[in-house]
Structures are given as structure tokens and as C-alpha cells.
């Protein structure tokens, strides 16, 4: 059939109206870096496209009380350049910077990266480690759920057919907290993550883990929080021994989750190095 109509959205209400009208026949296009590839390969066959890339309200990163809010059509380049994505949030910046190439980062958006539901989406693990929530809007409704709840399966997100991912929110990060990111790609640019890990860390005065949140990508059907590792590290000092033990727990988790996959032997081994690198990057940026 092919695409019959393309709408260039001018404001949110217009977009939500169109989504409500066309429902499953309709797809949102922001940067198009994933969608256009799907269209070319005929993996998706929408009748209507709604372009949200030029809606000002859907761009930008700003403080909202004790939260930071990133709007859905904000590009990776915008994230990398934002002053709010500071030294403490180095992991978010590095994740955004590791996506594709400059051209892709200029077009690709945070909302697209999330809603595409790829297990290897680079921006997802840092957002999971920040305990982010997503604000979903539809014509007469809006709801806020945790980002974790949004992921249902590989390539599947808990987004209704008339809903738009409006923004992502997480708590502002304090001076004594840090978010790090480490990725294993097969080359330095234009590399899809073989695996990536993000660590959120806060130490107390005696250098013990007061808060620790760990999330990874390409090690499951979607980005995953590694709660068993978090539980183990909580209240402990980070030294060679505890990091090694944490890595072993992570390996066990992955062995369980990726059982039967050809990539398991490699990922199980490699995750250790990436985990250690993410932890040491967190410690480096904390001091």
C-alpha cells in the first residue's frame, strides 16, 4: 500500500489528534534514523506518518523542581551539548555520544531510541540507572510510568496506539552522586552495542555504597536493572574484591537470562571488563 499521507506536526494537540484519528495506521517520525530503515525494508507499513521533529515543545532539557526533564524529540546532539548534562551525569553524555555517527546523533532522538525498543539502545541503561519515568500523552489523557515498566519485550513497548512519549524525567543528581557509562562496541563509531553498562553511585562518608543502581543494554530483551548486583554492593566499600564479586553475580544473572544464546560465552566473559570499567569511571568522576 505504502504511505498515503505525511503530516508535519506544528503543536502537540495537533499530533495527539492525528494519533487518535489514525491509531494503528499511523507512525510517528522524529529523527527517522530507525523508522526510515524499517520502512525501506518493509518491516513497517504505515499509511500515515506524523512528523514531530520541528515541534519546539518536544525539544529541550530543563530543570523542573528537583527533576530534570528531557523532551521526547530531543536529539542526542542536544543532550551531548546541554549544560544540565554535567560532570555528574557523564554517563548520560557518553551514552548519547556513543550513538551512531554525528549525522545520526543530529537526527536521532531520545524518544525514538526508547520507543524503538532495541535491546541495544544506548540511552536506555543510563536512564534506567537514574530511575527515570516517562510521561505519555494521548488526546484526552496523560500517564506517567517508570521507564522500566515501559519495556515489554524486544522491540515492544507499553505505549498505546494513540500515545506519544512526551518526556523522560529523573531526579537531579547531587554533587556526591555520579552516573557512568561503559560500552563495548566492535569499533569506535557507528557501533551497535555488543553490551553496555551504566552505574549510578553515591558513597557515604565512610566510602561505602549509599546508593547504587546498575543497568545494562544488549544483555536481555531490553535494557535491564541488575538489582541482585545492586543489593550485593549496597553498604559495601568498592574494592577489588567486592567489584569482582559483583561482577560474578552479574555473570550469573546474564547466564540465566541469555541461556541458550550463541553469544552467551562471549558476553558472560566480556561483561566483567565492561562492568569494572563502568565502576571505575564512576569512582573517577566522584572524586
Amino acid at each position: 500500500m505504502g504511505i498515503r499521507e505525511v503530516y508535519k506536526g506544528r503543536n502537540i494537540d495537533e499530533v495527539l489528534e492525528l494519533l487518535d484519528k489514525y491509531r494503528n495506521d499511523c507512525r510517528i517520525i522524529a529523527g527517522g534514523t530507525d523508522l526510515v530503515v524499517h520502512l525501506r525494508h518493509k518491516r513497517l507499513n504505515p499509511k500515515v506518518l506524523v512528523d514531530i521533529s520541528d515541534i519546539e515543545e518536544l525539544h529541550g532539557i530543563k530543570k523542573e523542581g528537583e527533576f530534570i526533564e528531557i523532551k521526547g524529540a530531543t536529539t542526542f546532539t542536544e543532550i551531548v551539548k546541554s549544560n544540565l548534562v554535567n560532570k555528574q551525569l557523564i554517563g548520560l553524555k557518553e551514552a548519547a555520544k556513543s550513538v551512531g555517527s554525528p549525522q545520526i546523533r543530529n537526527r536521532g532522538t531520545i524518544g525514538g531510541n526508547i520507543c524503538n525498543g532495541s535491546p541495544a539502545a544506548d540511552i536506555v541503561p543510563p536512564l534506567l540507572a537514574l530511575d527515570s519515568t516517562v510521561l505519555l500523552k494521548s488526546k484526552n489523557k496523560e500517564r506517567e510510568i517508570s521507564l522500566e515498566e515501559l519495556f515489554l519485550d524486544k522491540g515492544k513497548v507499553n505505549l498505546k496506539e494513540n500515545e506519544l512519549l512526551y518526556s523522560v524525567k529523573f531526579k537531579k543528581i547531587n554533587k556526591n552522586q555520579v552516573l557512568s557509562f561503559s560500552k563495548l562496541g566492535l569499533r569506535k563509531a557507528l557501533a551497535i552495542s555488543r553490551l553496555c553498562i551504566s552505574v549510578f553511585l553515591e558513597l557515604d562518608k565512610s566510602k561505602e555504597c549509599k546508593r547504587v543502581k546498575i543497568a545494562d543494554g544488549a544483555l536481555g530483551k531490553h535494557g535491564v536493572r541488575e538489582r541482585k548486583v545492586e543489593e550485593f554492593l549496597l553498604g559495601k566499600r568498592l574494592n577489588e574484591e567486592t567489584i569482582e564479586e559483583g561482577a560474578i553475580i552479574l555473570q550469573e544473572e546474564i547466564s540465566h537470562r541469555l541461556q541458550g544464546r550463541l553469544s552467551l560465552p562471549f558476553k558472560k566473559e566480556a561483561v566483567k571488563g565492561v562492568f569494572k570499567s563502568a565502576i571505575s569511571k564512576a569512582l573517577e568522576n566522584l572524586h
Binding site: 555517527s101 563495548l184 566492535l186 569499533r187 569506535k188 563509531a189 557507528l190 557501533a191 551497535i192 555488543r194 553469544s263 560465552p265 562471549f266 566473559e269 566480556a270 566483567k272 571488563g273 565492561v274 569494572k276
Partner: protein, 334 residues
Amino acid sequence: MKKRGIGIGSIFYGTGYGNGFPDVSKAVAQLKSDGKIAIYVGATEVGQGAKTALSQIAAEVLGLSVDDIVFINEDTSITPDSGTAAASRQTYNTGNAIKLACEKLKRDILEVAKDYLGLNSIVGLTLKNGYVYPKTLPEKRVSLGEISESLESSLKEEAVFTAQTTEMDEETGQGAPYWPYTFSACGVEVEVDTETGRVEIIRAVLAQDVGRAINPELIEGQIDGGFAMGAGYALYEDLKIEKGKIKNNSFTNYLIPTSLDMPDIEKVIIEDPESTAPYGAKGIGEPVMIPVAPAILNAIYDAVGVRMTEIPVTPEKLLKAIKEKEMTYNEGKN
């Protein structure tokens, strides 16, 4: 842990078709009415710089700047056959044909100039910057444009260059199948992450015997490109064929190095003119890539003591080999 190692690879390579196969290049050189020189060859420019280097050879013979050479190629309806842009043969083979055609054309030009200027011999006649004049009396001169205008039909010469290649002895495999040969060597330093199996090339040096560098910058470009291809061959490129179909038929998953994966390469151009080559220049297109993969594999061995015998050396394969070596080592200790 990250471990560094250094490796070297060195090669020799015969350019041209070789092994007795006819290797023939033709070229046509023509004096145009505006005094410029047209070169017709069936040589294909595939990014290697053939148009530039071959124009320079013509300009050198005729004492002109490359701007005065009108280079016509890749149009089979008006160009003679110059063989394929393959086997690193265009500079040497077609370069030779162009040089011969231009030398013949130059002689024709001097003959016409001799009559035009009322001289009794072409001895001592110089062709430079578009003028012909006796070396001893530069004021007495005629331009190529004037020569061309004085003629009823334009001056045009064709030349053929046939390379010397001999068949190998079928029984013994002995012989000298190629002429000429080029030599090159590459050194690299790598860093291996022993926990992820990822290999990073830290720095590299590549020395290439070129005979004579017609265009040093083009050679440096060829070294950069050849190194990237060699690095991709060693570390990334894997044509995953299943039942005759390529599974990774896009650049998303058929990986080649990006500019960020390339180190700065120290380039060494070695000039040892080849007596049968145009101004001594030999082909270097393929040779620049050949020593790269062995150098990288040797550097990996130097870094982690693992001898990889299959390319590409992906993190997956290397990590497995490193772990196997550790296990054997630990078993030996027990």
C-alpha cells in the same frame, strides 16, 4: 587488563597480470587546436588517482603543466584499450604507454616546429611551457597553438606497451611470473583488552617501495586507504555466508573501520627507480594493504601471547583464545 604489543609484516608483490598472460596497455596522445594535449586511455579512475598520476607523466614528457593535459578516459567509444584498473598495473603499464605515445608526439611536434622556424635539424630543440625553441636561441620560438593552427590535420600518435611476463614451469612451479615486483613493510602497536578481547591499533608505520613517487601525496593517501582495508580485513570484515546468502549485507553489520578506528600512520616512501617503468614508478595500490593484517596479528601475539590463525580477530574469538591459554597455563601449574 590492557596489554600492548608490537608486530611487523613484510611482503613482496608482483604487479600486472603476470604468468605469461598478455598484459597490454594502449594510449593515444594528440595535439589539440588550442595547443593543449589530449590523452586518450581506457584506464579507469577508481579513486586511486590514475587520472592525476597519468596526466603528470604526459606533462613531464611534453614539458607542460598538468593543466595543459586534457585527460580522456572511461569512454570506450573514443579510448583505446588500456587493460583493467587491477593488479596495481595502471601507473606502470598504462603510464609506460602514455610515455611512449607522448615521446612520439613530441618528435612530431619538433619536426613541424623545425620547418615552421626554418631550422635544419631538431637537434637541440626544447619543448617547454607550450613553446618550441632552439636551446641556444630561446627568442626564436613557436607556440604549440601556432603549430597546431599551421597544420591541416592534428598531430596524433598511438603507442602500445606490452609488459614482460613469463609463464611459470608447470612441473616445478618455478619461474619469474611477474615484472616488476614491489616491496613493503608495516609495523603496528596494538592494545588488547584482555577482559573484552577488543583490539585497538595505537600507532602504525608503513614503508612502501614505489620505484619513483610520481605524486607523493597520492601515495600517502593510498597508504592510509590500504591500511584501513588491511585493518578491516584483520579485525572487522567477515562475510557471513549461509547457504550461499550473505547474512550481513549492509554496513550496519558488515563492519569496516571508521576514521576513529584509524591511527595516525607514519608513511615512509622508498624510491628505487625501476628501469623499465615510466620515470621509474611502480604500482602500489594493493601492496600497501598486504602487510597490514600480518603485522596486526603479530602485534596481538606480542601483546597477549596468543597466535591467532583465523581472521577477522573479533573480540569474541580473541577472548576465547586468551581464556583457553590461561586455562592451559593454570593446568600446567597444577
